[in-house]
């Protein structure tokens, strides 16, 4: 699938085919996409644990449930538990010097071994690690980029996925999850129960509501170029909007097949 279509096809899917397993190679692709994400300091902001639903005991599965993440745990065959690694700053100096040696960070932009060895600890690293808000804020943003990459990879592999909150109290103990891994999202992965359209592309506000240019001395809402918008329709970044005409009947069909509330 081309990039624009992947972006346009991604959506939060909640109806998975519960009987269809996900091939391990597709999970590897999803994780490699996370591994290739943008990240400051070339640090590792995320940790993930992949769990096959059917490898969990009923008690372990139940321990993950909360009011909005329950049915989904029974439908999705694969769970990826994403955590923010709050020790992401460990090893920063070594990684930065590696980047200097590789020509990624260059003297042209002010980078040197001397700066990393003698200055960055007090100037940058301790400013982040010594402030809980900064530590968590940066961790969340950078972990989010990795998770976003993995979502796109899932759709590129023909899968569906959705991010959920989850209860991690029990699994932390059972899996010996370190204290510095902070719960982020539970990504549920599987094949769509219906088609990949999953009811149509989700509603979004026009660009002009959230994106601006700076003209003169003020912000101006971004004006869309209709030709560009048309190109994005043709390349499927913009797709048929929800609800597709058959969506409500489709949901009723899912509900009757699975015995769910209608």
């Amino acid at each position: 699938m081309e990039f624009k279509e992947v972006v346009g096809t991604r959506r939060s899917m909640r109806f998975f085919a519960p009987y269809r397993q996900v091939e391990p190679e597709k999970i590897q692709v999803i994780l490699e996409a996370a591994n290739r994400s943008s990240r400051s300091m070339n640090a590792d902001y995320v940790k993930a644990v992949v769990v096959n639903r059917d490898d969990l005991t009923p008690e372990m599965r139940d321990s993950l449930r909360n009011p909005t993440t329950s049915l989904d745990l029974d439908l999705a065959p694969v769970y990826i538990m994403w955590f923010i690694n709050l020790k992401y700053a460990d090893g920063t100096k070594e990684r930065l010097k590696e980047q200097i040696d590789h020509g990624i960070l260059a003297a042209s932009h002010g980078w040197s071994h001397a700066y990393v060895d003698e200055v960055i600890q007090k100037t940058v690293i301790e400013k982040i690690t010594g402030d809980d808000f900064r530590l968590n804020w940066m961790g969340a943003i950078e972990a989010g980029q990795a998770i976003a990459n993995s979502l796109l990879a899932a759709y590129d592999e023909g899968l569906g996925a959705c991010l959920h909150n989850f209860t991690d109290t029990e699994v932390r103990k059972m899996m010996n999850i370190p204290d510095h891994w902070r719960r982020a999202w539970l990504m549920l992965v599987g094949y769509p129960l219906g088609d990949k359209a999953d009811g149509g592309q989700r509603p979004r506000r026009p660009l002009s509501e959230n994106f601006f240019t700076f003209k003169g001395d003020q912000l101006e809402p971004l004006q869309e170029d209709p030709a560009v918008t048309q190109r994005l329709r043709e390349t499927r970044m913009i797709q048929e909007p929800s609800p597709l005409p058959y969506r409500h009947k489709e949901i009723r069909g899912f509900a009757r097949m699975l015995g769910l509330p209608e």
Partner: protein, 118 residues
């Protein structure tokens, strides 16, 4: 004791049937939906509004409810217990319980049951 016929005019039932799109189905089909709820009400010795009241805390001045976590958990378990008494196959037992959950859902209680997985 109550019957499905009596519940057809209960405001919470009317709201459920309308919101779920059942109100366009035949009277017999609508009644079939309500039958399971009536049986559950009798099993619990409560009317539909009382079951909702178990799940929702008292309405605040701004007209909003708050979910009772404990109450919802109790009702969820009571639904499973009730469905297990019906002597149905697993699929229909799950569907029966989730039919009652549908009544709660369309009256504002976010609740999820388990699916019947083929």
């Amino acid at each position: 004791m109550t019957t499905a016929e009596e519940l057809m005019t209960d405001p919470t039932v009317v709201r459920w049937l309308r919101s779920a799109g059942f109100s366009t189905e035949t009277p017999a089909e609508q009644l079939a939906q309500v039958h399971m709820l009536a049986s559950f009400c009798n099993h619990e010795g409560k009317m539909p509004q009382e079951i909702l009241d178990t799940c929702l805390l008292e309405k605040t001045d701004d007209g909003q409810y708050e979910i009772s976590i404990k109450g919802r958990r109790l009702v969820n378990a009571a639904i499973d217990d009730f469905a297990a008494t019906l002597g149905l196959s697993k699929h229909y037992e799950i569907a029966a319980g989730n039919s009652i959950r549908g009544f709660l859902v369309h009256n504002g209680v976010l609740i999820q049951g388990k699916p019947s997985v083929p």
